[in-house]
């Protein structure tokens, strides 16, 4: 059995990082917003090509920029998930810089970018707006409905074991 893989979830405050993990690990969603203080560690296994891979997911507190996050929490990561909120432009305004920072500081660590709150498409958010090149690699997820949540973690795990 291989050692578990450490995944760290990054992004601004209130983008739904904890909710995505809860949906992925416990298949639950709660409307209550609880600020993550410090870090929460969760675990779940995924099966890819008949191999069971254990993911240890670090849910760290939100930060407007990754360089403000505690560096020691990111040490030894096998993969990152960067989450932004489709309904709040300030959470993806610096997306390009953030991804560049990850590429510079953690060159070999794969990243998956998620635009969360996709259940708001057609109401408060226009899907067309996110069809530009800047968002072409993004997965649009909804922690509320569970849309694409499992896919996001599987996508990252595949990148990790490649």
């Amino acid at each position: 059995m291989s050692h578990p893989k450490k995944i760290v979830i990054l992004g601004h405050f209130g983008v739904g990082k904890t909710s995505l993990i809860r949906q992925f690990v416990d298949s639950q969603f709660s409307e209550d917003y609880l600020v993550t203080v410090g870090v929460h560690v969760k675990k779940k296994s995924v099966t890819i090509d008949n191999n069971e891979i254990t993911l240890v997911i670090w849910d760290i507190e939100g930060n407007t920029s990754i360089d403000k996050a505690r560096k020691s929490y990111l040490l030894g990561s096998h993969g990152f998930i960067y989450v932004f909120d489709l309904t709040r432009p300030e959470t993806y305004a610096n997306l390009k810089d953030q991804l560049h920072y990850l590429k510079e500081e953690y060159a070999n660590v794969p990243v998956v970018v998620l635009g969360n709150k996709a259940d708001q498409f057609g109401t408060t958010v226009s899907k067309e707006y996110f069809s530009t090149k800047e968002f072409e690699d993004c997965l649009f997820t909804s922690a509320l409905t569970g849309e694409n949540v499992d896919n996001a973690f599987v996508k990252l795990t595949k990148k990790i074991i490649e």
């Binding site: 410090g38 560690v41 240890v56 929490y73």
Partner: protein, 275 residues
């Protein structure tokens, strides 16, 4: 003629008054029934009890919302302004609880001492006597220290930074060990970052009856959960044992499988159990 008129008049009276009389009679009957209900307790209860019960139920369900804040506020105010009275009231209760707890602990201690004294001719007793003779420490003190001897409960080998569990041995399986090692690493990272101690490492965590000894190596660390009285002498012995374990682990920590690390830690654990 007069009789005829009288008959007509009677007919007219009958026509005009018959309904009134029926109504009056019905009202009278109802009045008597109500009077009887009010005057008879059983009958009155039968009518009123369901209404009162429904109201009471409604009242009970509303207590937390309607009276809760008022009661809490009243209690807070009362406690704030009558601290001495509250202490006076609680003192005997707490005193009794503490007294009972101490009595119980002393009884347990006395039982353990008796058991040890009764085994005067055992090997352990002989070892204790020898230890006392050579160390100069009284046998009774050695006996007391044995009663709360430190005990290893769990051992974790954890990769530095990532917090990935490399191996573990534990007597319990209550909490997921991968999550424990992640959280332990997060706490360690936080402390090491927060106090800006340079390249210093967190070496122990204490919580009530347990201590976590942390032995840091280059790419990993070993965390040992200990219960009982964690003495300096024990810490020193433990450190020596962990250095020996690291000789087996360090050179091949990245190639060993989890079960291989588990078995190395198990042997450490068992050697400590047998001591």
């Amino acid at each position: 003629m007069l009789q005829q008129e009288e008959e007509k008049l009677q007919l007219l009276r009958d026509l005009l008054l018959v309904d009134d009389r029926e109504v009056a009679s019905a009202v009278n009957e109802k009045l008597e029934e109500i009077a009887s209900t009010i005057e008879t307790q059983a009958k009155l209860s039968e009518k009123i009890n369901p209404i009162i019960e429904a109201r009471l139920k409604e009242f009970v369900t509303q207590i937390p919302a309607s009276l809760g804040p008022v009661i809490t506020q009243t209690l807070k105010t009362q406690i704030q302004f009558s601290k001495d009275e509250v202490v006076e009231a609680l003192y005997p209760i707490l005193g009794k609880m503490i007294k009972r707890y101490i009595a119980n602990e002393i009884a347990k201690l006395s039982e353990s001492i008796n058991q040890k004294v009764n085994n005067t001719f055992s090997m352990a007793s002989f070892k204790r006597k020898m230890k006392s003779k050579f160390s100069g420490v009284k046998e009774s003190e050695i006996m007391l220290s044995e009663l709360d001897a430190p005990k290893i409960n769990e051992v974790f080998a954890i990769q530095k930074g990532s917090g990935i569990l490399l191996g573990n041995y534990s007597l319990s399986s209550k909490v997921d060990k991968d999550m424990v090692s992640g959280m332990l690493t997060a706490i360690k990272s936080f402390v090491e970052d927060a106090f800006e101690g340079g390249a210093q490492n967190l070496e122990s965590i204490e919580y009530e009856l347990y201590s976590i000894h942390i032995q840091n190596f280059h790419t990993y660390y070993i965390a040992v959960v200990i219960s009982g009285s964690y003495t300096r002498a024990f810490e020193s012995d433990l450190e020596n044992s962990l250095f020996k374990v690291s000789e087996k682990l360090s050179s091949k920590i990245n190639t060993l499988s989890r079960s291989e690390v588990d078995s190395i830690l198990e042997s450490l654990f068992k050697s400590w159990q047998s001591n």
